[in-house]
């Protein structure tokens, strides 16, 4: 039990927690400035998420893709790469899954599995392109992965229009039932909330994330290359191959997220006029989660719950949905500017240190 307490009073845990509180305070101030009641707003936010089974299930649905993209960004980060392209990889995952789901006829389960694998691979390859360009040509992955987001979106639109969208419509055909991954029994229990196999898969991915990085030979190499490419080269590792590998695995996580989103939630893919945004939020989730698997799951929960609960805020307290973006942005700001948080926390941390002696 002591250990549990220790974990929760660790600085790495306290700082994000405090950042969240500060973010909520800033959000409250913004609401006050706008003439709204922040207490009522936050209360209705919580009620919206936890008030009934259906909404709780829907909040889970909102959280799931953020776990995937958070893992994608964090994995790259752990290997010294900044994958801003989780968005594009997510889109490629959606595209791959919807293509297999619509265009192929396979037995149940197998169909879903194949669609998920294809989606994941599409995401992996998409990220791998950025990795390859860095390894072979020295182009910075931030530039290429941002560009690949747009290329990915328009490429997906093109494929949709050319092969999957019936004439005169704006979205693809529905994937075959055999490819759908809804958790039917749970969904019934949760009043029809769109819960799907992606959620347990995301949690498994968090475990896999940990195992790859900290238990395997591959992970050892990836981390070494990320932390010190010169020493890795000296030690006989191939820096370039590891960069491609790291991006590929990172993209797999994002692609999986995209695949599960289409097969589990919408069952179709609409022609996009804007990015879905999960990839970008993944950066924030990875940041607030400290690039650790548990942190990412918790971070995704926070962000997912906040954005889902925002609807409740609007309904009960009249607070515009956009305000929740202020809260989220403030939280990110305080996590990124952890110097400020540490400064504010100083008295508490100093006291603990004294006791620790």
């Amino acid at each position: 039990m002591n250990r549990v307490i220790q974990v929760f009073t660790k600085e790495s845990f306290l700082v994000p927690l405090f950042a969240i509180i500060l973010g909520l305070v800033v959000g409250a101030l913004a609401m006050l400035a706008g003439g709204f009641n922040p207490l009522l707003a936050y209360e209705s936010l919580v009620v919206k998420v936890f008030g009934d089974l259906y909404n709780f299930g829907e909040a889970i649905r909102q959280i799931t893709p953020l776990i995937f993209t958070g893992l994608a960004v964090a994995f790259a980060f752990r290997t010294g790469l900044f994958n801003i392209g989780a968005e594009g990889q997510f889109i490629m995952g959606m595209l791959g899954a919807v293509y297999v789901g619509v265009a192929f006829d396979l037995p149940p389960i197998i169909h879903a599995v194949v669609a998920i694998i294809v989606g994941a691979l599409m995401g992996g390859i998409w990220a791998g392109i950025a990795g390859y360009l860095k390894a072979a040509r020295g182009v910075h992955e931030v530039i290429t992965s941002i560009m690949l987001n747009w290329i990915g979106m328009y490429f997906a639109n093109y494929i949709l229009n050319a092969f999957l969208v019936p004439k005169g419509q704006q979205r693809s055909e529905i994937v075959h039932d055999s490819a759908v991954i809804t958790l039917q029994a749970l969904s019934n229990f949760l009043g029809g909330a769109r819960v799907h196999w992606g959620t347990p898969l995301a949690l498994i991915c968090a475990v896999i994330f940990f195992i790859i990085l900290w238990k395997t030979k591959t992970g050892y190499e990836l981390r070494a290359v990320g932390l010190n490419p010169h020493a890795s080269e000296y030690a006989g590792m191939s820096v370039n191959r590891n960069i491609v590998k790291a991006m590929f695995i990172s993209g797999l996580f994002a692609g999986l997220g995209g695949a599960c989103e289409t097969l589990g939630v919408f069952h179709y893919l609409a022609v996009m006029s804007a990015m879905p945004g999960y990839g970008f939020d993944g950066i924030a989730v990875a940041l607030i989660g400290g690039n650790t698997p548990i942190g990412i799951v918790l971070g995704a929960f926070l962000f997912g719950a906040l954005s889902y609960g925002a609807a409740g805020m609007k309904f009960s307290a009249g607070v515009p949905i956009e305000l929740i973006r202020i809260v989220i942005s403030s939280v990110i700001f305080f996590v990124a500017a952890h110097g400020i948080v540490r400064y504010l926390l100083k008295p508490i941390l100093a006291k603990r240190k004294e006791e620790g002696r």
């Binding site: 238990k215 030979k217 932390l227 010190n228 010169h230 020493a231 000296y234 030690a235």
Partner: protein, 516 residues
């Protein structure tokens, strides 16, 4: 000596104590520095020298004690206050803006203005005047990224002078310099003192203290051990005080018994970083049971030679044979697995992954061996056992095997690398600058390990810029000049003068003399 006592005291630190979480970095330290002297602060890595000077420069606040500047008590709450009091610091790691010119760096934060713009011409003139006055030759218009490390250091010195410093703190200034640059720096320090400046020199190099300092304060584990005039002491005495025991400078070693050829380098040519050939048909060989030292001025192809031998740089022409097997242009891993170990010249860049734990660092080149790698999963219990064994055996002082390498002192980091490399039981051990920046205790340890390898019948290649080191440790010395070996000499039959001449391009004749 009586003369000194009448001279004004410019810096006095009384009873300074500074604690960091768990350790006492400075324990009731007293330091008295007289005007116009060069005062050395001697101590091993981690003894508390830098902490003390950071307190004097206002970067840290002492927990106890008092500071007097020019016999007046002061509170140095920040480096700005230190500047106002005439204290300047030349840091070990330079704080310069690389794309800026020398002048721009010097005036940074203190720019002379003409209306709304910087009066760059006036600034350049001032810099020129200052450099003339103290014999610091620098081009005020050159960009920092284009000038040598020695020049960059002069810019740092000028920066403090420009801000009107009278008391200059030098933090390990020679660690990054070549022997020539060290000589020049010593001259600069003398000029500064002649012009009435006072210098505090943080160092662990006894030779420098003997050469240039007036007095020396020795610090060990946060406490002042002694404060003496340099005239009244000698290197052996200083070393013993610094380390706390007798130190053996001379390495006791029996004559080498060279056996079969382990490494043969035949006419190797390789392109350097600047795009021209850095190695121009270099040839030499090393036998089992001997240490070959490579002496030379920095930048004559030493780094490229190491990289060519270890597979980190492409060889354009020529062959490299290790125990008779060709390793030319093989991958670093193949070469490493063929029986070559390498203590890299830059331990932070190549030698360690600083954010890895010690345990992880100890298997950097061997993690894929079946001992540690089970079907793609690493056996961290075995890795930990391995690390614990090596750390014990090589006396690496680390709080735990799970401490990040970054947290260790330079000496202990180097010991860890040496442990890892020797443990691979290589036929050839390449030691590049193995003692750079280390204190005498660690140097002694490392030299003994190199000789031990030799005595076990292994070949050792020692590449060093320190002539003393090469002459002490090596059995044969090859002198490298502009990418070629210009001569091989026996350390017992040569002198520093002869080596110095060869290092600057003079060739040795068969008879033993030198010709140009």
């Amino acid at each position: 000596m009586n003369l000194l006592s009448t001279v004004k005291t410019v810096v006095e630190m009384r009873g300074i104590t500074k604690r960091f979480a768990g350790i006492v970095a400075n324990d009731n330290i007293n330091l008295v520095v007289k005007k116009g002297e060069i005062h050395a602060l001697l101590g091993e890595n981690g003894a508390g020298k830098s902490t003390l000077m950071n307190i004097l420069f206002g970067l840290y606040q002492p927990d106890e004690g008092q500071i007097l500047i020019n016999e007046k008590p002061v509170q140095i709450s920040s480096p700005n206050v230190a500047n106002e009091l005439g204290i300047g610091m030349v840091h070990q790691h330079f704080m310069l803006v690389e794309p800026f010119t020398v002048t721009e760096n010097i005036i940074l934060g203190n720019e002379p203005k003409k209306g709304l713009t910087i009066d760059i011409r006036k600034a350049q003139e001032e810099v020129r005047q200052l450099s003339l006055k103290y014999g610091l030759k620098v081009d005020p218009e050159a960009k920092i990224e284009d000038i040598s490390v020695g020049m960059q250091q002069r810019v740092e010195i000028l920066k403090t002078l420009y801000r009107g410093a009278d008391i200059l703190i030098f933090d390990e200034p020679t660690a990054v310099l070549t022997p020539q640059e060290i000589q020049e720096l010593i001259q600069i320090m003398r000029n500064l003192v002649n012009e009435g400046k006072t210098i505090i020199l943080i160092t662990h190099k006894l030779k420098e203290i003997m050469a240039v300092c007036n007095s020396v304060t020795i610090i060990r584990r946060g406490k002042v051990i002694d404060s003496v005039a340099v005239k009244e002491t000698n290197p052996d005495d200083l070393a013993a005080k610094m380390v706390g025991r007798e130190v053996n400078f001379r390495i006791d070693k029996k004559p080498s018994e060279p056996k079969e050829v382990i490494l043969a380098v035949e006419n190797v040519t390789a392109v350097g970083n600047r795009g021209v050939d850095a190695l121009k048909g270099i040839s030499f060989e090393i036998r089992a049971g001997e240490i070959l030292g490579i002496a030379g001025v920095e930048g004559n192809g030493q780094s490229e030679l190491i990289e060519a031998l270890t597979g980190l740089r492409k060889v354009k022409e020529g062959r490299i044979l290790l125990s008779g097997k060709e390793i030319t242009n093989q991958t670093p891993r193949t070469i490493s697995e063929s029986g070559l170990s390498h203590i890299p010249e830059d331990r932070h860049k190549r030698g360690l992954v600083l954010d890895f734990t010690m345990s992880e660092n100890m298997v950097l080149e061997t993690y894929f061996h079946p001992d540690f790698n089970k079907n793609g999963f690493l056996d961290f219990k075995a890795i930990d056992r391995h690390a614990a064994k090596l750390i014990e055996e090589f006396d690496v002082r680390t709080p735990s095997i799970h401490t990040p390498a970054r947290a260790l002192s330079g000496g202990n980091q180097q010991k860890a690398i040496i442990a890892r490399e020797i443990n691979k039981d290589p036929d050839l051990l390449i030691a590049a600058q193995p003692t750079r920046g280390l204190d005498v205790g660690a140097i002694e340890f490392i030299h003994r390990r190199l000789v031990e390898q030799r005595d076990k019948g292994k070949a050792v290649l020692l590449i060093s810029l320190e002539l003393d080191e090469v002459m002490n440790v090596a059995d044969r010395i090859a002198v490298i000049y502009e990418g070629q070996i210009v001569g091989i000499v026996n350390p017992k039959e040569t002198s520093e003068q002869e080596l110095g001449l060869m290092m600057s391009g003079g060739k040795r004749t068969e008879g033993g003399g030198t010709v140009e």
